[in-house]
């Protein structure tokens, strides 16, 4: 019984030291706040017509899915001490090219497949262009992907001729709005991507090598690590994942909005990665953490709407929650709290003595 209790406390302690622990707490707090306003907030119903679960939580999971997808790619890129600012724009490119293709090719399942493939390919190619600029030309990741962010948005507009192209295709609609086992397809796919990428990097030697080039590229080179190859892999992965996210974002409304699809989503992804405990300095990374960060961002977005905070105050509210979280994660702030506690403890025990002396 006592051993059971100690193993439970040690499990709790390891969870407490996980970088994403505070992210989980923040999600729970936000949900609690929402439940206070509406006690039935967490309720989940079943819609027999569509065979789906319905409720606020399901909405959050659906909204978190695209953020989680690009966060996984962003997490790998950031681990190499880089950054990918172009993911939001690449989402628009993928949406644009798939909608254009569907608008002309019609509603068959084959057309949907072709649109998917083309969008993925284009995402991967543009990711590879990022990699060329960074690892071959030697530009800084920030500049290279900033260029791609501007160019990508432009490319999306060129593809659709500046229009917000709409199309109809049942297969395509299903992948964005359909359900399997009562859960949204898009959420299941995001979970699948997180697990697959996580297993791939941790079961192979990719994770170790990515961390090595992120922490110390010169040392990694002398150890024979192929930095260029790894950079191509992570930027292509980031581009392809952005394309997947872009397909879902446009398929859910069957329209690509070239100005707004994926707009500033790179910021959400970067925040999700940081909340998940991956340092922007590169090195150690945590893909589970990035996924939980994405979940928190989505929860935050839904909470802002649910609480009826005015849209002009929304960014400030988001910023406050995220800053509070970063402070909680900061080792320095935690040390400060610990030092204060250590200081106040002896003072209280000395107090009676002083009273006697006085």
């Amino acid at each position: 019984m006592s051993t059971d209790a100690t193993s439970r406390t040690s499990m709790l302690r390891t969870l407490l030291h996980r970088p994403y622990f505070w992210g989980l707490i923040a999600i729970a707090l936000l949900l609690a706040v929402n439940s206070l306003k509406d006690p039935s907030y967490l309720a989940i119903g079943y819609n027999a017509n569509t065979g789906s679960l319905v409720g606020n939580v399901i909405d959050i999971l659906r909204a978190a899915a695209p953020i989680a997808m690009i966060s996984v790619g962003m997490c790998l890129v950031i681990a190499t001490a880089g950054i990918d600012l172009s993911v939001g724009s690449l989402m628009a490119v993928a949406g644009a090219v798939s909608m254009e293709l569907l608008a002309s090719a019609g509603g068959s399942a084959g057309a949907a497949l072709a649109a998917l493939g083309l969008a993925l390919l284009l995402g991967a190619v543009l990711g590879a262009v990022n990699a060329v600029l960074i690892s071959v030309v030697g530009l800084q990741p920030f500049i290279s992907t900033l260029v791609m962010m501007l160019a990508g948005r432009g490319l999306a507009k060129v593809i659709t001729g500046g229009q917000n192209t709409a199309a109809s295709n049942e297969t395509f609609r299903w992948i964005a709005n359909g359900y399997v086992l009562g859960l949204p397809v898009v959420f299941l796919l995001a979970v699948l991507i997180v697990i697959a990428v996580g297993l791939l990097v941790r079961r192979s030697a990719l994770g170790l090598m990515i961390e090595a080039i992120g922490m110390d590229p010169r040392a990694a080179r002398l150890a024979g690590v192929n930095r260029r190859g790894l950079l191509f892999a992570v930027y292509i992965a980031s581009g392809a994942l952005a394309a997947v996210a872009g397909i879902f974002a446009s398929a859910s409304v069957m329209t690509v909005d070239v100005s707004n699809t994926g707009y500033q989503l790179e910021m959400d992804a970067i925040l999700a990665v940081v909340i998940g405990g991956t340092s922007l300095a590169g090195g150690k990374f945590n893909i589970t953490g990035a996924a939980i960060g994405a979940l928190l961002i989505a929860t935050l977005d839904k909470t802002v709407v649910f609480l009826g905070i005015s849209s002009s105050a929304t960014p400030a509210f988001k910023a406050i929650v995220i800053i509070a979280l970063c402070l909680l994660q900061s080792q320095r702030v935690r040390d400060l709290f610990r030092a204060r506690r250590a200081k106040t403890a002896p003072v209280t025990s000395d107090a009676p003595k002083e009273a006697v002396a006085a």
């Binding site: 030697a205 170790l208 961390e211 090595a212 110390d216 010169r218 080179r221 192929n226």
Partner: protein, 523 residues
């Protein structure tokens, strides 16, 4: 003449008494006393980890002592920050020279003391003042507007000292100021320090270079494992006594390695397995030939910048040659990258242990498997059992501390970091191991272990190329010594009883530098 004894009757300027510093249960310093007089250079000697830096940090206000007292001019002083120590007239130049590399010399020297006028900093006045400070140190020919990043390590060190002198401190603390300097640069630095001594500045000089300490200091304090073992005037000291005070039993161990190497030493027989012909890199290395035999230790002697590191990098794929050929086992060898060299079982440990060697944030385990794993490729990870066995084997064989393979390498001492790095290369089963200053900045115990490892490698038919500024070390380990100067190989000598440190120094020294004393590290 240089070892002028300080006036013994002069009143002590700094008195540190019974200084103890403990990190938790571990005592880094145990009741250490130190007395420094004005106009005296007081050397702190001891191995790395003996407590030299900690003692200096206490006086500089960086570290607070657990117990003990400090008096300056007879008045008690307890600096709790570098700023308080500076206010009391104590300045420190610590081991990692903290200069702003992108600023000019003048801006660095006057950092924090910039002359201000109505419109902000008066730049002309700043450079004039910086020039005055430099001039007083005999460095008046420095251009104060030059960027520090373009300077050599020695000049950078001098700028750091000039900055410390800008507010005319009475006590100057120097922690290993010569560890990255070569002979001529050391002389330049010592000239400045002697000038400061004339001006009555009290100096504490921490170093583990015996010859330098004897050439410069007035008094010596020897630390070992955090305690003071002796203090005496520099002109009374016996070298052998000093060495045995500092390192004790390790000296016998070094002798044993030396004699073991001599027994195995043999003139290379048969054709060399590695053959470099006219290997050259523009502006870095003139065409150079080198042959290597299995089981042979080849030492490269030369000053920093003589082309020794560049030659080593070309041999092991760390840099790419512009011309010349390398042959391995009679086949042409193309070394485009370190990865290519590792595929041919050629490994190189860089001199820059932290920048190019270990990956500080990764664990001991990940650091050891990194090179082997890169050669296998990302898709063929080692199984956990295979990896753990390999890592445990090296931790045991090389005596890496701590033994927990999950410890991040940044928490290890310099000697243990070097052992982890060597384990990484040994895991790739090298046929040629290139070691660039493998014992630089490492304590005596680890140094002995690394030298023993080189001897073992040679005995197991691995060819070793070793670069060291410590010529005694080269003579102890090498079968052959290649001498480099001015980006050229100027000679190659077979090691034997007739060869001494002086012979090699004579080969390196230019005629006009012949009167320089050979400044070598400890054995």
């Amino acid at each position: 003449m240089s070892t002028r004894p300080a006036a013994p009757d002069a009143a002590p300027l700094v008195e540190m008494a019974a200084i103890t510093v403990a990190h938790g249960p571990v005592e880094v310093l145990h009741e250490v006393d130190l007395t420094v007089r004005a106009g005296e250079i007081h050397a702190l000697m001891g191995e790395n980890g003996a407590g030299k830096s900690t003692l200096i940090n206490v006086l500089a206000g960086v570290t607070s002592p657990t117990s003990g007292s400090i008096r300056l001019d007879g008045r008690p002083l307890r600096p709790s920050s570098p700023a308080e120590a500076q206010a009391a007239g104590i300045r420190a130049v610590l081991q990692d020279v903290p200069v702003a590399r992108h600023l000019s010399i003048g801006e660095n020297v006057m950092l924090g003391h910039e002359p201000r006028g109505r419109f902000g900093i008066r730049w002309g006045e700043l450079h004039a003042q910086a020039h005055r400070v430099l001039d007083e140190l005999g460095l008046g020919d420095m251009d104060t507007r030059r960027r520090v990043r373009s300077l050599s390590p020695a000049t950078t060190q001098l700028v750091a000292i000039a900055r410390a002198m800008a507010d005319e401190p009475r006590v100057l603390l120097l922690d290993e100021p010569t560890s990255s300097l070569d002979t001529a640069e050391v002389e330049q630095l010592f000239l400045v320090l002697r000038r400061l001594r004339e001006r009555g500045v009290a100096m504490v000089f921490a170093s583990h270079f015996l010859e330098q300490v004897l050439a410069l200091s007035d008094r010596l304090t020897v630390l070992r494992s955090g305690t003071r073992v002796a203090e005496f005037p520099a002109h009374q000291v016996e070298r052998s006594e000093l060495i045995s005070l500092m390192i004790g039993h390790d000296l016998a161990e070094l002798r044993r390695i030396g004699s073991q190497r001599r027994e195995h030493r043999s003139d290379p027989a048969g054709p060399p397995f590695y053959r470099a012909r006219q290997l050259a890199q523009r502006e870095v290395l003139a065409p150079t030939d080198l042959d290597l035999h299995r089981g042979e230790v080849v030492g490269i002697a030369g000053l920093r910048g003589s082309g020794r590191t560049e030659l080593a990098r070309l041999l092991a794929g760390g840099a790419t040659a512009d011309s010349g050929t390398a042959m391995l086992d009679g086949r042409a060898l193309s070394l485009r990258s370190p990865a290519a060299a590792l595929r041919h079982h050629i490994a190189m440990a860089s001199e820059d242990r932290l920048g190019e060697g270990v990956v500080a944030g990764l664990s001991i385990r990940d650091n050891i498997v990194l090179a082997l794993q890169s050669r296998r490729g990302w898709a063929r990870p080692m199984s956990r059992a295979e990896r753990d066995e390999l890592v445990a084997g090296f931790i045991d064989e090389l005596g890496i501390r701590p033994v927990d393979p999950a410890t991040p390498v940044e928490r290890l001492s310099g000697g243990n970091q070097q052992k982890v790095l060597l384990a990484r290369w040994l895991a790739t089963r090298p046929r040629l191991m290139v070691l660039d200053e493998p014992t630089k900045g490492i304590d005596m115990g680890a140094r002995v272990e690394i030298q023993a490892l080189v001897a073992r490698l040679a005995a197991s038919r691995v060819a070793v190329v070793i670069i060291s500024s410590d010529l005694d070390e080269l003579l102890r380990l090498s079968d052959r010594i290649v001498v480099m100067k001015d980006r050229m190989k100027i000679g190659e000598v077979s090691n034997g009883p007739g060869l001494s440190v002086e012979t090699i120094v004579e080969m390196i020294a230019a005629p006009e530098e012949e009167d320089l004393p050979p400044l070598t590290g400890l054995p």
